[in-house]
């Protein structure tokens, strides 16, 4: 395996024409592109939406189902301190979260060697849907009003440089497809209800990660106007950016040219997606009331001498006229003027 990789590198170096740097960029699905456009133009795109309660699943049943799907029997299991169970089934090591709503799996055997080319979005979507159907149906079982929607492809790219400074051509190590979940036509945004499946360069699956809880409808609430939602994005962005952005008046928002658009002084909105906000199990935020929200990503920068330090801020603002109070949702607290958050550290000795 390792020598194969080396051979590929050597061949690529000799050929000198297989560099894929810049070419192996993520592809957005048409669904995802449209979602980002419509969020800026029309917010949630409806006048009412549901409030959902994120529910747990039977961890043991999920683990047993995955063990069956991935091999004849589990060779061993262990229980981690967070209550997750880890099992080895056939050629896979799989972890299932304590509440049964999330799982990860990694193939144990070596993946195919890296290559200069990537798998395209359509191929990855096909491979991904086949994998979900064959291996993940225990956990991923959409209800009648739910759909699995393809979001984007991603790529793991290998690079290297030797002592002489010579850079080897970049190679694709793995190809990833990301799916989301729509409920009654609205997608879950924020990281929850996401399926990521990674394939080797030969198209064989090498890992997966799933967050797929059950949702129960708690209520229906009126949705805020697009202007109100964008105003929340502006206020949150300015407050989070701090400094001049927080002190300056908010700029007049111009959404006519799409992304990026300035939402606060020096802060550019690079993406917005609206739906049901669920940050997922892995964040441990404990947000189990899943309500209308819009996920945002903004970018800012600071000049330092002749250089620039850039940074991104990500999160979600509520999209209901009146959000259900939740102390675990940072933006909801921020918009409510409530201080809080994790404990700050002390200073080290100097």
């Amino acid at each position: 395996m390792k020598s194969n990789k080396l051979m590929y590198l050597s061949l690529c170096s000799l050929a000198g024409m297989l560099a894929i740097s810049g070419a192996a960029q993520a592809d957005e699905s048409a669904y995802s592109q449209q979602a980002a456009r419509s969020a800026l133009a029309s917010g949630l795109g409806r006048s009412t939406a549901r409030v959902l309660k994120r529910g747990s699943l039977d961890r043991s049943a999920v683990a047993a189902g995955l063990a069956t799907a991935f091999g004849d029997r589990a060779a061993g299991t262990s229980l981690l301190p967070d209550g997750a169970v880890v099992l080895v089934a056939d050629d896979w090591r799989i972890a299932v979260a304590a509440d049964g709503t999330a799982a990860q799996g990694q193939r144990v055997s070596a993946a195919a060697p890296p290559v200069p080319t990537r798998l395209d979005l359509a191929t990855l979507e096909r491979l991904g849907r086949e994998f979900i159907s064959a291996r993940l149906s225990t956990l991923v079982a959409p209800r009648a009003d739910e759909r699995i929607v393809v979001l984007r492809s991603m790529y793991e790219v290998l690079g290297g440089q030797d002592v002489s400074g010579r850079r080897d051509p970049d190679l694709v190590r793995a190809n990833r497809i990301v799916f989301g979940r729509s409920i009654d036509g609205l997608r879950v945004v924020g990281g929850g209800s996401t399926i990521s499946i990674t394939f080797g360069t030969d198209g064989a699956p090498v890992s997966f990660e799933v967050d797929w809880p059950s949702y129960a409808v708690a209520s229906t609430v009126p949705v805020a106007s697009t202007a109100a939602i964008l105003g929340r994005v502006q206020r949150v962005s300015a407050a989070r950016a701090g400094g001049a952005a927080a002190a300056a008046p908010l700029p007049r928002l111009d959404t006519s040219r799409g992304y990026p658009t300035e939402v606060a002084r020096g802060v550019q909105l690079s993406r917005l997606e609206c739906g049901y906000f669920d940050p997922g199990m892995f964040t441990k935020l404990g947000i189990d009331t899943v309500q209308p929200g819009c996920k945002y990503e903004v970018v800012q920068s600071t000049a330092v001498g002749g250089n620039v330090l850039r940074n991104g801020l990500g999160g979600a603002v509520p999209a209901a006229v009146t959000a259900v109070p939740d102390a675990r949702w940072p933006e909801l607290q921020l918009l409510s003027g409530v201080a809080g958050g994790a404990p700050a550290p002390g200073s080290a000795s100097r």
Binding site: K5, S32, A74, S78, L87, G315, P345
Partner: protein, 288 residues
Amino acid sequence: MGDFKGSVGGSRRTIAPVHPWLGSLCLGLAVAASACTEEPGDADEALGSTSEAVIHPRMQVGVRGAADYQNNWQNYLGNAWNNCYGFGSTISSTDDWIYYYNLVGAKAPLEETGDAWGTAYGSADTVDLYFMETHGGNFGSDTVWAMWDQNSLVNSTAMRLGDDARQLSVLASLSCDVLASADGNFWGRWYNAFAGGLRVSLGGWDLLYDAAGIGASFATRVQWGWTFGDAFANATIGGDGRAKPAVAVAATDANSCWGRLGASAPNIFSQARVRDWSIGYMCWVTWN
């Protein structure tokens, strides 16, 4: 919640009540794996015995970060405490969370000057895994990290990690652009930092996004036995986000370099240190 006083002894006493049941339940997966697998009446037990793949030697973990900066010389990072505390409190159920400090006066403890001063100073080489959130950048000849103090930048060429005290193995920085490689000068920026024997560096090759929950989710994935690279990438991407994470390692040659990218908590200490002139190749994986 009140301020977290991050002195070494104090921090551990303060942390303990967060998960009071964990200390008694699992003193460490490496030494108490059988205890951790016991859950009377659980159907999972019928599936088999303990998997060695996720049990890892206890790591000593240091956490530092900056939310605000002196005279606002850098932009605010409102989720820095969420991520730093989230990482530390989560990882502490399987590993030893040694310190939790801000980045006031933190330049020297990250560079060779003070990386072995001691845990009370938040020195990088006094732990196995150092997690940090702050602004980062690629300044051409140097990778830099912003400290709290105005105009204070840690320079990668002034670092030498992995050779003193506990000998750092993993540098995880939730910082943009620190593992940039497209300009062809990765070697120049990172050789000194790796020359002490540092095993793994994690960070952004382009933009990362300050968002709540990244620290906790990174820790969870490390505990679940994922490679450090995959754990960091999935945590920063957060499902379908646009973050651009990367992992980098140094090795004697390209062949061994690719293998070392598979470092995870269970195998990190089994990787031989590669130092100084023995480093013949540096490699990385970027998530695009």
